[in-house]
Amino acid sequence: MKVLLVEDSERVARFVKKGLAESGHTLDVAANGRDGLFLAASEAYDAIVMDRMLPGGVDGLSIVAALRQSGNEVPILILSALGEVDERIEGLKSGADDYLVKPFSFGELLARLEALVRRARERGSQTTLAVADLTMDLLSRKVARGGRAIALQPREFKLLEVLMRHANQVVTRTMLLEQVWDYHFDPRTNVVDVHVSKLRRKIDADAERPLLRTIRNAGYMLSSE
């Protein structure tokens, strides 16, 4: 995965670069809006991470808008210290695909980037999802493990769907809150963990090899390996 980071803080840039390199990805850094726009327009990236407040009073959103106007469809994640709901809505309206508020953990950033890139590659309508011997039919809303049907509540189905769409990728608790419950706040409890355990009991019940793994300090992963 080749990523462009438009960010004027050297420290943040170094931190992201190091983290991405360890996960086997490459990162280009632009320290200002002009370089960022130039690189984004001339190189082929899998994703762009855009800071909002850039040197010279440039708002990263104007760069996002410029890229979208020129027909560039690369997935963009906004990284910003502006965290109010209105700011987030404004960010998504400008054409960005996701919004992450500073301070952030690297795990959260990586998980969201991988999810964005996956989503961009798999655009189009799938009607079935499969991870190892776990299958999900999105039309008839049926789930089966090794041919044995599993009954799920609607919300459990949604939870499993998000995990299956991001199979072999880390999905953070915040991502689950946003995508499954549409909660854009932190309920400060382990409710998500309880929901996931409940789901795990249903899909991994008496299976030889559990699929749903907890990734420490990050989130969850539905893994076929």
Binding site: G83, E84, V85, D86, P103, S105, R155, W181, Y183, H184, F185, D186, P187, R188, T189, N190, V191, V194, H195, S197, K198, N217
Partner: protein, 456 residues
Amino acid sequence: MRPLLRFSAANLALGYVAASLAALAVFATPLWFAWRSTIDARRGELLQEDERRLVDIFQARGADGLAAALDARVARSRTGGNYYVLADRDRRRMAGNLSAWPDGVPEQPGRYRVTVLANGEPRAAIAIHELLPGGYRLLVAGDDTSFQRMERLFWYGLAATAAAILALGAFAAWAIRREFLREVQRIQRTAAAIVAGDLSRRVESRGVADDLELLSRTVNGMLDRIQALVDGVRNVSNAIAHDLRTPLAELRSRLEELAMSRLPAGEAAAELESAVADVDRVIAIFNALLRLAEIDSGMRRSGFARVDLGRVAAETAEFYEPVAEEKGIALSCRAQAGLEVMGDSLLLAQALGNLVDNAIKYAPAESAVEIRGVRRAGLVELSVADRGPGIPDAEKPRVVERFYRGDRSRGAVPGMGLGLALVAGTARLHGGAFELSDHSPGLVATLRLPRADPAH
């Protein structure tokens, strides 16, 4: 004393004076012309008639006959205030009550304004000058002096009226200015006191329901709001001082200790992880404080939309259900239909979530937690009831304060002490109220919000 003209109300009064004078002029001018032309025309007709009779006499009896008739009239004082002169072709006076043919009468016959000398006095007059056969000239003139007196009176009257308007206007300007200035100074004094730092001052009410009172009330409302905001800022700074310092201090010592001790890599990594968890705790408090400040500022109102609280309640119940189940708590949700409010769905969901989360935390195992939504007159009432230890009455008002943590929450139950403050702030933002009451045993937390108008 400030210059009168620099005061807005006085300017207004003077403007009215100018307008009144203009109106007076507009009224007087046509009146003057109408009067003048009517009277002039009528007097002219009378003179013309008189003159025609004299011409008839001339035609019947000749110049001498007319002279005799005129002299007879003058002798009998039957002139009716008119002046008559008959003159020959050299304009020598032949008869009449003027001593000579007046100067300044044009050569051509016609009607003129002239000045005649009557008994040695100059009098203004309207004169008809007639040329008779044989070069005789006849002048019949009507005295205009009395009319001129009336004209003078008209102008005097007009001038006096204008002067009265001016005087009244000036007085009104002065009086209005004085009254207005007193009112403005009342508000100004309050504003000055506030500028000087006394935020508790308010504009006194005069007990009269007029426009200035309305202004005073608006100003007072604004001051209440400003004071609330200032207090809010002060509270937040206090809260930050107290409650962010502690975890930051812990974090600092943890990191310093780590730097000093030569720990094996594995242990060092574990310590660092704990440090990151500390930072996350600080960030969570920070976010909650920002959210509270955002709520208190009232900014979120601009994004209000119709929210079905019944649905919010059902979703919240569904979200917390597995947690309750784990503790063996029966979480139920009963909501009537049509629990609609105008509000911010995110904040309302978070507020209800906090209440349910608290209830589950404090409820004993194998008890019930109930979410209820009911419609009251003009209100939507959303309550969460648990069978936990409850809150003593004395503590109830304090638990909604920032960072207050009641006795019952010290110890095992983790929290930041911001949850209920956020709920109370959300209720306030929506123009509603938040109340804690006894469920004996247990606690009922109730949100009362104004119901939205029925869907259009």
